[in-house]
């Protein structure tokens, strides 16, 4: 090799080699880089299915006729509910819901069939546990749907019409089956990469400080740019491998189709990881101990789990959180992931996001190098 390092990168090659060796020898760090993201993608991919099925339902059927039993069956047939118990009083029904034994309580009054036959309005009471908003909303919609369906069928029979006057044919683009993994897993990759990268980078310089090796680095002619780049590149390589690994899981374990360009996916991951590692290095220049680095990383990462649009849509956030989301790299990366993977968006539609990530990375990296003092405090 005859390539000469530019002067401002003095020490880069030494740090680079050393970091690579240390990384592969220090299995604990490597494990803690790979394990949490893996756990996260699996947990979110399998468990975070917000399409709730077979909710526990208690039934108080005061009518006990064929018609009332058909109504209960109609509820069960939606697959949203399953009957856990038939109770004998309204009190018992309420108790079931309050104790959490049932999400939903169905009360069919004694005059249900009589009113139905008499052409009167038959009231059916549905108690819903509102303490969990997603399930409550789904229970409510399904219950209303059941009632609506029954009403429409009765009306159709009375008017001798076979079809509904208006029918809406919804077409959900990009995630037609509304599968939860399709929505969550691309976002999970964003948060999973974040944990591994920020922690690892935040520890790197603090560890040298704690061990006392930093002093010798400072005495040497190494430059801060050389140090930072030497620290960053090995992690960048490992994290890119991890990103590809996560994309593989997304495609082949969770069967999420990737509609967009793989190259763009990789470029997005590269810019994102670069920005996050730089952020970690900024923390590392500030923290005096590994503990402090850990706490600072947590403080910075928590908002991005809530405000990046990973779980809650950004559009409905109060302006302050929306503004906060604008400065989080995760926000742009998650939007990019959903756009590329689900919608097959191309470079020209999303170059702004890539540019923003690149600028964030550049600024953060400069910041960590400039913040780093070649003197002890």
């Amino acid at each position: 090799m005859t390539f000469e390092m530019p002067k401002f990168l003095r020490g880069f090659r030494a740090i680079l080699y050393k970091e690579f060796i240390v990384m592969f020898r220090d299995r604990t760090t490597l494990f803690f880089m790979f394990f949490p993201p893996l756990l996260q993608i699996i947990a979110f991919g399998f468990a975070l299915d917000n399409d709730v099925k077979h909710m526990a339902m208690a039934v108080y059927n005061e009518d006990r006729t064929t018609e009332s039993r058909q109504l209960v069956d109609a509820f069960v047939n939606t697959q949203t509910f399953r009957v856990v118990k038939e109770v004998n009083s309204l009190d018992e029904l309420e108790t079931m819901v309050r104790r959490g034994k049932a999400y939903v309580g169905l009360d069919i009054p004694p005059d249900y069939t009589r009113k139905l036959h008499a052409g009167q309005k038959a009231d059916v009471e549905v108690l819903i546990d509102g303490s969990s908003s997603t399930t409550a909303l789904q229970a409510l919609n399904t219950a209303l749907g059941v009632a609506f369906q029954r009403s429409v069928n009765i009306l159709l029979g009375e008017t001798n019409r076979r079809e509904l006057p208006v029918e809406i044919r919804p077409q959900v683009l990009y995630n037609p089956s509304m599968r939860a993994p399709n929505f969550f897993v691309p976002g999970v990759i964003g948060t999973a990469l974040q944990i591994a990268t920020v922690f690892a980078a935040a520890m790197s310089i603090v560890r040298e400080r704690e061990r006392g090796t930093l002093e010798n680095l400072l005495v040497s002619p190494m430059t801060r740019w050389g140090l930072m780049l030497g620290k960053l590149v090995p992690y960048l390589c490992v994290c890119m491998v991890m990103a590809l690994f996560l994309f593989t899981i997304l495609r082949w374990v969770f069967l999420v189709p990737i509609h967009g360009s793989l190259i763009m996916l990789v470029v997005a991951a590269f810019l994102y990881i670069f920005a996050l590692l730089s952020l970690g290095l900024v923390i590392s220049t500030k923290a005096q101990s590994q503990n402090e680095a850990l706490q600072m990383s947590m403080t910075i990462m928590l908002p991005s789990i809530f405000f990046s649009g990973f779980i809650f849509p950004r559009e409905t956030m109060p302006w302050i959180f929306y503004a906060l989301s604008m400065i989080l790299p995760a926000t742009y990366f998650i939007e990019l992931m959903r756009a590329i993977i689900l919608r097959g968006a191309g470079f020209f539609e999303f170059w702004r996001h890539l540019l923003i990530l690149a600028v964030m990375g550049g600024v953060l990296f400069s910041l960590c190098a400039l913040r780093f003092k070649r003197k002890l405090a």
Partner: protein, 317 residues
Amino acid sequence: MPAETMIECDNLTKKFGDFTAVDHVTFSVKKQDIFGFLGPNGSGKSTVIRMLCGILEPSEGTASIAGQDVVHETDAIKGSIGYMSQRFSLYDELTANENLQFYARLYGLRGQAMKQRRDELITLTHLEPYVDRRAGLLSGGWKQRLAMACALVHKPSVLFLDEPTAGIDPVARRELWDLLFELSSAGMTLFVTTHYMDEAERCTHVGYIHMSKLIVCGAPDDLKQLPVVNPPGTKRLDVTCDHVTVALRAVRKLKGIRAATVFGQSMHLLLDEAVPEQSIRDTLSEVGIHEVDIRPIAASLEDVFVILTRQHAGGQS
């Protein structure tokens, strides 16, 4: 031809907030000197080294290495100084060989030059059997040799060693000193901090720092001749006898005894010249000690430091 001055401090001072860690320290070290820097823990030894290495900014005063200012010409001095810090600064996950290569690369060596320098240092420090062992698994003595080799990769003209022998077995200690003499005779200037008086005796020059102030500085033999150490009209005696603690108590009551300290099986006395040896023998036989061996001795470096520390503390209160 007078030797070149390699290290120069002029009123070097470091304050951390209200605390003055190093208080107007002035001294100089010539080429090929082995300068021993002594003082209790927390007296400011490491702080001085860090300032001389350009990694800590002095609050006041100036310092230079081979004529180059440590603050304004930091980059220029980096090539001429080697630094072995108190904690050895090795990477435990790397082997001895990899640690050496790391430091060699850090100083810009590469390819054949790097390998050649590495082999030279391995030979110099006799590290051959351990080149492929992880630094974390080396014993204290071998860690110290490796750290030493790492500090020497770029052939510095001044080498700073911060307590290089703390916690090291006596054999390793002696071998390190042999190596230091070897380096010094090859033209290197050495700056060593230590707690051991026997190490101080081996230095060509010593400085003693107490409560952030440099109390004394000079060649060991010159320091032992200082009038304050040997007040006019006094002499030093070594008294060897049985039951030395009993003897010490008895002797201390004797008129004209200025100081008495136990050294193993004997005691060192500083006493008025007028006190005859016979009165010591008489005093000791009164407490039942009859076999007594008395001979004159010179002051040791420890005596020097004890006396000067007491004087300094007295002057402060």
